[in-house]
Amino acid sequence: MSAPSLSKSNLPRWLAPLILLGIAYGVVPFAGGSYLFEAILTPFLILSLAGVGLNLLTGYAGQLSLGSAAFMAVGAFGAFNFNLRIQGLPIPVSIVLAGVSAALLGVAFGLPSLRLKGFYLAISTLAAQFFVQWVLTKFGWFSNNSPSGVIDAPALQVLGIHFDGPVGRYLFALTVVVVLTALVARLVKTRTGHQFIAVRDHELAARVIGVPVFRTKLLAAAISSFIIGVAGALWAFAYLRTVEVAGFNLDRSFQIVFLIIIGGLASIRGAFFGAALIVVFPLLLSRLGAFLLGGVFNSGVLEMSQHIFLGALIIAFLIAEPKGLVALWDRLTARAAALFLSQTRKANTDIVP
């Protein structure tokens, strides 16, 4: 009999996600206070979803986008308006339609990618960022002519089930995120997913082997914008509970770019790792700063030091670990497993010489 092996390849691939799902649905809802759900878990899940969406476009298909927040805004305002203007439309349908609107916009601003590459596409998405912000603030129709521009999101209710309270909204967001993430995880393993990667790695070579480059780019933009749009709808409906343009600014777009760089480009887990760090790190920094510096560490200093740390983190990851936290995590767990394995082997040989 060979020694029992704990290497990852012997465990079924679906086991780890299943255990995580079990914890997310079965344990977490009973575990924490409302602060945990409202300030940490729900935004973490939604930012992860936005990260998954952007990663599809930037990580897998190699098209840099600096306008994610614009697509989130379209998703949020789209879901609000579909829900408001079509009587009796179920919430999930409004959210899907909102995603479709974001996807259409994504295709519109992805069209220049017919002729543009790299930075030029980034600039086209920047244009989307400013244009969408302008349209949504300038035309009152989108916010139902609310004088303050801030509107309450409708209650989350699906098939008679109310997703109220912090835990309910967490479960709603969790379910949407799980479904879409599973679809994306499947997508990247299909022919289409491989075409994304082919376009990213060498556009001309991809064209030569018969990948329809332009269509692939537009498809990546559409699916990515759909997911980011849904994330935006969730951000407004399940996290903020209000629909407003202000939160969907350029800083939010950069935040989503940063989280996939830190988490790991072209990795679905990467978006979750990056989002976790982006959500938790400001909280840690404010605690740490208040502890070390006391009163000097006011909100202004906190914001500036957040910027400095975040910038430094980006550069550090780009230099030292371009594959992000995911690669770091995999290396650490592999090393731990190897260590554990050698220990048990050693123990076995000690007993049976």
Binding site: F119, Y120, L126, Q133, W134, L204, A205, M304, I308, L318
Partner: protein
């Protein structure tokens, strides 16, 4: 005569736009310097403008004379350039352009956060001693400040052109931009040249920071001038100094004209995206920009 087109007003708007455009070019030149010699698309240019202006104004507020503050800030920009080149870009050499771009995005967060942590985030007024009085030129009213700012920008472009043409360092810049491997082969020291470029870009952003700072006030939003410079770059081509001058003039003129003549019909506030729309439309016709070099693609 109510319906007659007011040509004086039109030319006033046009000239105002052209002068504003020169200010955009001023920021864009810093980009071109770095992009030409190292292929880095430096998003941190805007935060460098903020850093320079904030350092200068804080030093003058602490009692330094104009000249002394200028010298100290110039030295600080030089140090910043050296640090950036050595600590951030050298470890990233030979990495894809998008990676370098993302690094400068991180860099812009560091510089902008650091500048405000060091000097505070409040708004400072910056007085250069230029009166902003309207000047009457054949019936048109033109801002004197704009004229002087445009003059300084033009002078700067002239100095840069002479520098590129007649000095050893300038020639080295051009050699590296032209063919990096050939430049290495004839013994040019690439790291030193790239450091020099970052210092030069720092000095350009100092001038831009002073002019933009006295126009807008020195505060965080100053770093957003980078967003004004991007369409100019797209229009002019990322690697052409004459290109960004013409691009700046075109963007400035179109933007002002659109704001005045088109803005009222759509509720105004279009200056945030209109320049991008022009630049993108233009790109669809000519992807390399007005003066940008055509990139060849080989398998």
């Amino acid at each position: 005569m109510d319906n007659a087109f007011d040509w004086t007003f039109f030319s006033e708007v046009l000239v105002g736009g052209l002068l504003a455009g020169v200010m955009y070019s001023l920021v864009a030149i810093g980009f071109v310097l770095i992009y030409k010699t190292s292929g880095v698309f430096n998003f941190a240019q805007g935060s460098m403008v903020l850093f320079a202006a904030l350092t200068f104004v804080s030093l003058t507020e602490r009692g330094l004379s104009f000249g002394a503050a200028l010298a100290v800030t110039a030295a600080a920009m030089a140090v910043l350039g050296i640090v950036v080149e050595n600590a951030v870009l050298r470890p990233l050499v030979n990495r894809p352009p998008v990676t370098l771009f993302m690094a400068t995005l991180g860099l812009s967060y560091i510089i902008e956060g650091g500048a405000q942590l060091l000097w505070g985030a409040q708004v400072h007024a910056l007085e250069l001693g230029i009166q902003d009085t309207p000047l009457e030129v054949s019936g048109m009213l033109i801002s004197k400040f704009d004229l002087i700012a445009a003059g300084i920008s033009a002078g700067m472009v002239a100095v840069l052109s002479l520098f590129f043409r007649y000095t050893r360092t300038g020639l080295a810049f051009r050699a590296v931009a032209d063919d990096t491997f050939a430049a290495l082969a004839v013994g040019l020291r690439l790291p030193r040249i790239r450091t020099a470029v970052w210092i030069a870009a720092g000095l350009v952003s100092l001038v831009a920071g002073l002019l933009w700072g006295s126009r807008l006030g020195v505060q965080f939003s100053l770093s957003l001038v980078v967003l004004k410079a991007l369409p100019v770059l797209v229009l002019g081509g990322f690697d052409s100094v004459p290109g960004v001058i013409v691009g700046g003039l075109l963007i400035g003129a179109f933007e002002k004209l659109a704001e005045v003549y088109l803005g009222p019909y759509v509720g105004g506030g279009i200056e945030g995206w209109f320049a991008y729309a022009i630049a993108l439309l233009f790109l669809l016709i000519r992807p390399a920009g007005l003066f940008g070099g055509r990139t060849l693609e080989r398998v």
